[in-house]
């Protein structure tokens, strides 16, 4: 059984007329120890999907349908009290900007120890000791000293390490990382990605890696789901996706990326803009930017259908 199974998840915000769907019929599965790359541009719903898995839906929005089954239980049906015991303990999350997720008036060590004490019966002294061990595990030099530092005394890369230490403190089965390296310099990014990979290998932790960077996905993920305008448009094992991209959006995205050592005079840009959530075209949301679009694309959003082993695509023209 999959560790996490998201089934037909739909989440919407109220709007004049029809509600605006931030996530529309999203389904994916994740096995223990696996890394799923969730890829898309701003506003495609990838972060919102992660928040729904944690059941941290913004108050103005509502989950309109679907299930989030984690280790056999539907998180959307659990009472709030029970979801709280899971959140932070068995499912943890890290964000792009650690400064906003860390408390500025508490030391790094205190915050990690606190995360432990919420979920486990453990003394203050033992929790502090574990916090120092965790700081060492995430590669912070002189962890016993740094544990006394406040977030502003740490660099961006160090803060992200502290947040990771906090997230893995209770040995979660699933870590959701939302653009964990986007705010970091490229050399620090590489170190953080290597750290996440190491943690996944040593702890057998599953990872949902949310990113806009296909390069990161190629290096880190076992499976990839490409999102566009609230829907998953293509999903495949990583090697298969890069060797045989099928959806016109995936193909266009790969062609529009400048990549190292492949100097081209012009990039193949995708024309137009990502449609606003309230003004998405009928049928396939990508159709007015798509080179393959036909009249039939306007009728209904295409369903994800298998085109190769474990490879599904939502396009009627491929």
């Amino acid at each position: 059984m999959a560790l996490l199974s998201v089934e037909h998840l739909t989440m919407e915000f109220p709007n004049d007329g029809a509600p605006a769907r931030a996530i529309d019929d999203v389904s994916f599965e994740l096995e223990r120890g696996q890394v799923l790359g969730l890829v898309g541009e701003s506003g495609c719903g990838k972060s919102m999907t992660a928040l729904c898995v944690m059941r941290l839906v913004p108050t103005s929005g509502r989950i309109a349908g679907g299930r989030v089954v984690f280790d056999g239980r539907d998180l959307l049906a659990l009472p709030e009290r029970e979801i709280r015991t899971l959140r932070g303990a068995r499912i943890a999350m890290i964000f792009q900007e650690p400064m906003t997720a860390l408390n500025p008036v508490l030391t790094a060590g205190y915050q990690i120890a606190e995360a432990l004490r919420i979920h486990e019966p453990i003394s203050r002294r033992d929790a502090w000791g574990r916090a120092v061990e965790l700081l060492a595990e995430v590669g912070i030099p002189e962890p016993a000293t740094r544990a006394h530092d406040y977030p502003h005394q740490l660099s961006g890369g160090m803060r992200q390490r502290v947040m990771i230490a906090m997230a893995i403190a209770c040995k979660p089965d699933l870590l959701i990382a939302d653009e964990p390296t986007t705010a970091l310099d490229v050399t620090i990014q590489a170190e953080i990605l290597d750290l996440l990979r190491r943690l996944r290998d040593t702890r057998g932790m599953a990872l949902v890696l949310i990113t806009h960077d296909l390069g990161i996905v190629a290096e880190q993920a076992d499976r990839v789901a490409i999102m566009y305008a609230g829907r998953i448009v293509e999903q495949a094992p990583t090697r298969e996706l890069f060797a045989n991209p099928l959806h016109p959006y995936t193909r266009a995205l790969l062609r529009s990326m400048p990549s190292l050592g492949a100097h081209r005079d012009r990039l193949e840009a995708i024309p137009g803009n990502v449609p606003d959530i309230t003004r998405r075209p009928s049928g396939c949301s990508f159709r007015d930017r798509c080179a393959l679009a036909t009249a039939d694309c306007a009728t209904a959003p295409p369903a994800l259908v298998p085109k190769a082993p474990a490879h599904t695509v939502a396009c009627i023209n491929v």
């Binding site: 541009e41 806009h212 296909l214 990583t238 990326m257 400048p258 012009r266 840009a269």
Partner: protein
């Protein structure tokens, strides 16, 4: 050929904090002893991580800030002594495009006024001529003429960046500094703007300093590349030389850290221990030595000079000097 832009031994220090007497507590060296030239029509990519001084260097070349020491020349004339009318005359010829297409456009001004502001300030043409010029500029950057009547918030990030580019081009500059001009944009939009910059620099024979932390983007646009670390240029050369035959350990680490969109290629990452040191208290010798796996004793005491070799490929490293 006279370089269009030439900086010689430019250093810029900023005060940090104030003590009770209002004196700076410390000085940070943002740019240290940098010499750089841009030939007419050339695009130089300036690469480095946050805090390395690349944006400061860009602003120094435009004389938006004054160097602490050193000289900046434009078409052979020093910018530093210029005042009033002479400086304004040169200002028309050099412009900047900023990173943030949200913060860099006045939300209360219509696109017409934003793009035409420079024309108005420099008293170019009458009202009708300026109107026509704004529409011509909008067309140049791929926006419809109706855009002129609208406000910045009505546009997407990519479109706003087009407005920022139109504004920069309004006075017909020969030199443009693009400071992380595509960094805030989504991949599909980033490609549109990169293509636009590529077209414009050819059509208008622009000389460009393209400042970015993204090696992939720089490789796409630049003719020559300079790599900065902690206020100094550590490697510089033709695009093919720097990307294909990087010498400086920092350049090589940067290149190896870029994620490659090919899952069959195992990343052979060169690990960089630690983080960039503070520019308030830079390490002695080569500023990179505390993180450098190849550092020798000499690196800890003696600042390596940026020495040029074959084809103008220059490296500042004791261990891997240029061939």
């Amino acid at each position: 050929m006279t370089p269009l832009v030439e900086a010689t031994n430019v250093t810029k220090t900023f005060p940090v904090g104030r003590n009770v007497l209002g004196r700076p507590r410390a000085w940070v060296r943002a740019v240290t002893d940098v010499s750089i030239t841009l030939q007419p029509g050339e695009t130089l990519g300036l690469v480095g991580e946050s805090g390395c001084g690349k944006s400061t260097l860009g602003r120094l070349l435009l004389r938006l800030i004054e160097p602490t020491s050193g000289d900046v020349r434009f078409e052979g004339r020093s910018l530093l002594g210029l005042r009033g009318r002479e400086l304004r005359g040169l200002r028309r010829r050099m412009q900047i495009v900023f990173q943030d297409p949200y913060g860099s456009l006045n939300p209360r001004m219509r696109v017409e006024a934003i793009v035409g502001e420079g024309l108005l300030i420099h008293k170019m043409g009458n009202r009708a001529e300026r109107r026509a010029k704004v529409r011509e500029l909008l067309d140049l950057v791929g926006l419809p003429p109706e855009a002129a009547a609208r406000y910045p918030h009505e546009f997407s990030g990519g479109q706003r960046q087009r407005i920022g580019i139109a504004r920069a081009l309004a006075l017909g500059p020969s030199f443009v500094v693009a400071d992380e001009a595509v960094s805030a944009l989504d991949v599909s939009i980033q490609a549109q703007i990169l293509n636009l910059l590529q077209d414009l620099r050819r059509r208008l024979a622009l000389t460009m300093l393209f400042v970015s932390h993204d090696l992939r983007v720089v490789e796409h646009l630049a003719d020559r590349v300079a790599i900065m670390y902690l206020g100094r240029i550590v490697e510089e050369g033709a695009r093919a030389a720097v990307y294909g035959n990087a010498r400086h350990p920092y350049t090589r680490a940067l290149l190896s850290a870029v994620p490659v969109p090919d899952p069959t290629r195992k990343a052979e990452r060169q690990h960089l221990p630690g983080e960039p040191p503070s520019p308030v208290a830079p390490p002695p010798g080569c500023a990179f030595h505390p993180r450098c796996p190849f550092a020798i004793d000499r690196c800890r005491t003696e600042v390596p000079e940026l020495l040029a070799g074959r084809g103008g490929h220059a490296v500042a490293c004791h261990v891997f000097p240029v061939e």
